[in-house]
Symmetry: C2
Subunit: 758 residues, 2 copies
């Protein structure tokens, strides 16, 4: 097969599920109706920390129309704890409630009104306990402990190195060092250090969490869930209910946004337990307020020290980060470990000392959120790099360029060499924002860069089926959550098999039938699942060639594919004819298989990242000195994506990343007072609106086809978010001379800083 | 791998879906609820034959709550004709209604009551035309023609040899000959000939036909259907609506009996058209009365002439059969062709002349029904063999034994050699019924034998997935319709992969995800789909062995599987450990693939049967001479199955076959008067009840592991039905001296025959 120009990959085709979504016809989990389906409601703790002395669901259970009423103490017929890092989170509070909003009891009834009424009949005796809400409170000597016992190990063997510190609120510690950072800092020409804070924020997916569960004697548990990683949910449920994996079917219909909030089990354990107790299908749908009580981004306090030589060379980075993982570990310890490993960002740093702690508090559990802990660190590091440029009298763009890791350079021994060109992204960003041109007097410009590893080791598998009419079904378990993966996977199969995009269907994830895929997160789907689809498609292609070669008595190397046909020197066989040769009748299909499993490596975290996500952001801001309101007038994001399989969708995703980044940069923070979340509702929590987007917003892509994914692609989608905060703050600092260290950059904070400057 | 005793295959394990079904929790198509689902009703022709001058659905469409109202003339936006042999059947009558009960218009409304009300608002002008109801009427010179135009070719290329006779009611003719039958008959010592009649009967599945259809912009058409061959339905729908196969998803949930009635498209085209017109999901569920108006068994008039030598050697068979295929061809022409090819039954016959016609009449279309045309012919041939034995003074058992085809003998050049031992089945049946012992004076005994080919060429494919905990998902598209195929496929995978049966799940057919399987009919699933599952499981097994061999540095031949582990000379690795070796993490799955596609051959019908279905029946009957009521006191069925993968299910299936055979033998017949079906309802049509089953009913199996299916199995399930009529009639003849030629053997017919004898 000689190389030929790409037909479908690289084209800005509209998303395959766009029409169904914009017409409102797409059906999400909460739209499902099953015969006899019951509706669930959850009673939640009003206290951030309390002993649960008694939960009495007797009266609720007796209410007409109630099909099940459960308390934590009654869950003796299943394993009631779950969690990916540690199984420290009960389906319903057992003995202790550890955060405001924690589920304490639940009911399922014939309708929602009855379920609501039943909740009022549940009696709970609480004994309030002193809570720890902030990192400072949690880490203080003699602090109340969120967890007192030793948690059970999580069921993901790959996370088995995680360990809590008994007798403290430390959920996990991570340490990584190379070289002699103390010595290097001692001899550096410039040492800067500072502490930066990143707020707890909510993912705020358009669709809150939802699950519909049903048990059958034949098939076990089927659960339709708003999940980003149905296979992780499956293994949790298998453990909880002690059933084989093959008897748990996790199905993901259309999903209304994830951003990490829908990784690992969330509502699924409770929905499954209620369905088991009720003996019929149960629908459990969270409200937006309940999503705030389910998971959030880990807040962080990050102390970073950087050392530079006078000539601008970065010689050492020390980082000490505390992440607030809330009341239950969720995947927080891994967030901390994984992010801290890349705390040095996209720079060549010979001397490194990195330490981080995941800390329990009596707040909503913190888990995965777009960026997976990196935004918290990049906020600190990229602010400090600009501060250093200022002190060194260097252009921040040039200082970064000087210290960037080069293409092919080692990040850490055993890990994947750098697979992109940071300097190219930086140049593109600088050019697009007009870095070298003078800005208006009331505008400031700033840049920031990022580097992030994807999850490793990592497995994706796919099955591709070619039907007799040359149409194609792709079976893969990447979750379409708005990022466009169904379209991208369809493009890849259409490209390899030379069929029009409209003849490819990508089946939605369903663990009973679509093969294993580790997770839809970590920007991995195009690279890993895409590669699996590519390999499976190539497997089908090889079959087409082999059948034709045998039938015509020619060599496969003399055959090519072209628009639904195998082309031999003197003949052209449509796929239908090739399949007729294979099957001797007008039926049958070719089945291709793709398995991508790089396995464990000698890299520091046990697996080499399948790709490095790299991006640069550049902001131009203005500030209202009267109010402190910062306005991002222009923003440029440049991501090194290897190849944009679909530039249109990629642009949409990166625009979304920038705007979401502006949320925690300017607007968003979950605010607590006396252990109570003050603004955990649709009304009070302020996410960016359309008119908060920069009037000029550009997303560019560096495409050198140097990624390990299909056609040289690599992951994207998190990179655009991460530089936003430091780019904006750097711009503000360059405009006003004021450097803020706490996010979000609210008008009040900015106004106070401007006022302090005067 | 050394041979080891079977662990799961061959065991009478309970059916995997039994509990769900007996508790009433199993959900069938009609139980489905989709958001916004509309309900359909069908207006049907009150005439057996009429010109449809006008169908006005305007008023129906205007009724509040009506979402769609369709007439045949309006179906210009799709291909309105369908049918597997010819596309001669309109979704809704166009210009002409060809049988009483033919759909003429249809509506979909918010509920069933509104849909019913809307039907009353539809105006239809009919011009009654003279109908042809019987074969005699249809074949008479100058008979009114059921079809006047040339039908479009069917879309199944394999059926492209079928041809109607223009200007007649002959839908297809078939002819097959070898030797010189005329000469052989002329020189035969005994020639007998006679005409036998077989009535039109209904399948009477517990669940009438049903379909729920929905269109989406992303996925195309999804249809949950009570179908025995979702892949055949898929290709019909793709043609009708001009969409790629990959954009048609036919899902088959639990199915409440098929017996052939649910092969090929039935309600699905109309449900899909209504859903398209309504712009939302549409549920179309037939009543029992409507099932009578959908499909039935082809009635037949069979003239057979047999020639024997004095010593009992069968020298010639001539057969001339007319099958009544009703108003539309459905698969009737293939029924006629396929059955007539084996009209000589299980006997060695040197001189053969076989001819058959499929004949259109103005009655419910005739299609596939358990036995696929063979019961009609066996009724004639096996009656005549007994009559010949009587004339030759031979024991009917011994006469059959003398003429049976031997194991390995050719049936026809190019076709599969005989793969079973007919004489062993016959001996077992004779022994079990006590053939050589004297019977009570008021009892008579009779035997009959059968031979039937399965569909060929034929394709089955399967995917088998091994999960990290050693549990297994089987993806295959054999439809579980009560015969137990889900259990059998699970047993096969469990056997090959050495896991407990409870760890295997067999996914229900869904053309979007479970791979191609031609059809669940023709007794083929255990042999063909089972073999595909076996091969796919072996593929997984090979992967397990290869991974382990590479990891341990041993040869695969030194490894065996044992209860969820790979066993090496000095180590035992549970599958979880093997998968950890493969994937480097606790995720991933092994995917196995099985494709069974023997292809076309030189056999007379273009494909060699994958196996021969062979069985013998023996009946002991009594008769009430006052009323003519025949009572089957004992019945023995012996089927040559190669290996009974599940003897319990097989016994159940063959018991069902015998009882269903007693239906058309003693009770069942669709009765017409003036073109109107008189007894097409639950109340009036008499199928066997539990107390109609013989007090002593035994099903035995010959198991020589000589089948081409998994572990030597071959197909079963039709064989037990086919000998019932002749075995009972032969017993009656031996008891009373009276031979009847028309089924069913109603008391009136028997009484009249007994009376005529005196």
């Amino acid at each position: 097969m000689s190389a030929r120009p790409l037909r479908v990959v690289g084209r800005p085709v509209p998303r395959v599920d766009g029409l169904e979504k914009v017409t409102g016809r797409a059906r999400y989990v909460t739209d499902l109706v099953l015969p006899g389906m019951a509706h669930a409601r959850v009673m939640r703790s009003p206290y951030a920390h309390a002993r649960v002395r008694r939960v009495d669901v007797t009266r609720a259970r007796a209410l007409t129309g109630v099909l099940a009423a459960l308390s934590g103490a009654e869950l003796t017929w299943c394993e009631p704890y779950y969690g990916p890092a540690y199984r420290d989170r009960p389906v319903l509070a057992i003995d202790v409630a550890r955060y405001e909003g924690e589920p304490v009891a639940a009911v399922a009834a014939v309708d929602e009104a009855t379920a609501d009424a039943a909740l009022d009949l549940i009696e709970v005796d609480y004994e309030p306990l002193p809570p720890v809400i902030t990192l400072e409170e949690a880490l203080a000597a003699g602090a109340p402990l969120v967890h007192t016992g030793k948690p059970q190990a999580g069921i993901f063997a790959d996370l088995s190195t995680l360990r809590p510190e008994p007798g403290t609120n430390i959920c996990h510690q991570f340490h990584f060092a190379r070289g002699d950072s103390a010595g290097a800092l001692a001899s550096a020409d410039l040492v800067l250090d500072d502490t930066y804070r990143f707020p707890p924020v909510q993912h705020y997916a358009m669709e809150p969490h939802a699950a519909v569960a049903v048990w059958s004697e034949t098939d076990g548990l089927t659960i339709w869930a708003s999940s980003q990683n149905p296979y992780s949910v499956r293994v949790e449920l298998a453990k909880m209910f002690d059933v084989p994996l093959a008897r748990i079917r996790v199905v993901v219909p259309h999903l209304g946004g994830g951003f990490g909030s829908k990784t690992y089990a969330k509502l699924e354990p409770l929905a499954a337990a209620l369905a088991r107790a009720a003996g019929r299908p149960v629908r459990l749908a969270a409200s937006v307020a309940e999503a705030f009580q389910t998971v959030r981004r880990c807040a962080a306090r990050v102390h970073v020290r950087v050392g530079f030589r006078r000539d601008g060379l970065l010689v050492a980075v020390e980082c000490d980060a505390d992440y607030d993982v809330g009341a239950y570990a969720d995947i927080g310890p891994r967030v901390v470990q994984k992010a801290t490993y890349t705390a040095t960002g996209p720079y060549r740093v010979p001397h490194v000392e990195l330490a981080a702690r995941a800390v329990y508090t009596n707040t909503t559990p913190g888990g995965a959120f777009r960026g997976f802990g990196v935004p918290q660190l990049a906020w600190a590091l990229e602010s400090l790099v600009d501060a250093a440029a200022d002190r060194l009298g260097r252009d921040p763009v040039e200082l970064r360029r000087q210290n960037f890791l080069a293409h092919g350079e080692e990040f850490a021994p055993g890990d994947t060499p750098i697979d992109g060109k940071l300097e190219e992204s930086l140049s593109r960003a600088a050019e697009a924002i007009g870095w070298t041109r003078a800005s208006a007097a009331d505008r400031g410009r700033g840049v920031a860069a990022m580097l992030k590893a994807s999850v490793a080791p990592s497995v994706s598998e796919a099955i591709v089926r070619l039907h007799t009419d040359g149409s194609v079904s792709v079976l893969a378990s990447a979750v379409e959550m708005g990022q466009g993966t169904r379209t991208v996977l369809a493009q890849i199969a259409a490209e390899v098999l030379c069929v029009p995009l409209a003849r490819v269907t990508v089946v939605q994830p369903d663990t009973a039938v679509t093969p294993y895929d580790q997770t839809t997160s970590s920007s991995r789907s195009t690279t890993m699942t895409g590669r699996a689809v590519q390999v499976a498609s190539e497997d089908v292609r090889e079959q087409l060639l082999r059948i034709t070669a045998e039938a015509l008595g020619v060599a496969t190397r003399d055959l090519t594919l072209d628009e639904g046909a195998v082309v031999a020197p003197a003949r052209r066989l449509p796929y239908a004819e090739v399949l007729l040769l294979r099957f001797g009748m007008s039926g049958g299909e070719l089945i291709g298989r793709g398995v991508i499993a790089p396995g464990r490596t000698a890299a520091p975290l046990g697996g080499s990242t399948p790709f490095w996500e790299m991006a640069v952001g550049a902001a131009e801001v203005s500030v209202d000195e009267e109010t402190g309101a910062v306005r991002v007038e222009r923003y440029v994001s440049v991501a090194d994506v290897g190849r944009a399989v679909n530039p249109l969708l990629l642009e949409g995703q990166d625009e979304g990343g920038v705007v979401q980044g502006l949320g925690h940069t300017l607007l968003e923070e979950m605010l607590y007072a006396d252990g109570h979340l003050l603004n955990g509702t649709l009304l009070l929590y302020r996410v960016p609106r359309a008119d908060d987007a920069p009037p000029a917003l550009e997303c560019h892509f560096v495409e050198n086809a140097d990624g390990s994914g299909p056609f040289g692609a690599k992951g994207a989608g998190e990179g655009s978010l991460i530089p936003v905060s430091p780019a904006v703050a750097n711009a503000l600092a360059r405009l006003t001379g004021v450097r803020l260290r706490d996010l979000p950059l609210t008008p009040e904070r900015v106004w106070r800083a401007l006022r302090a400057r005067r």
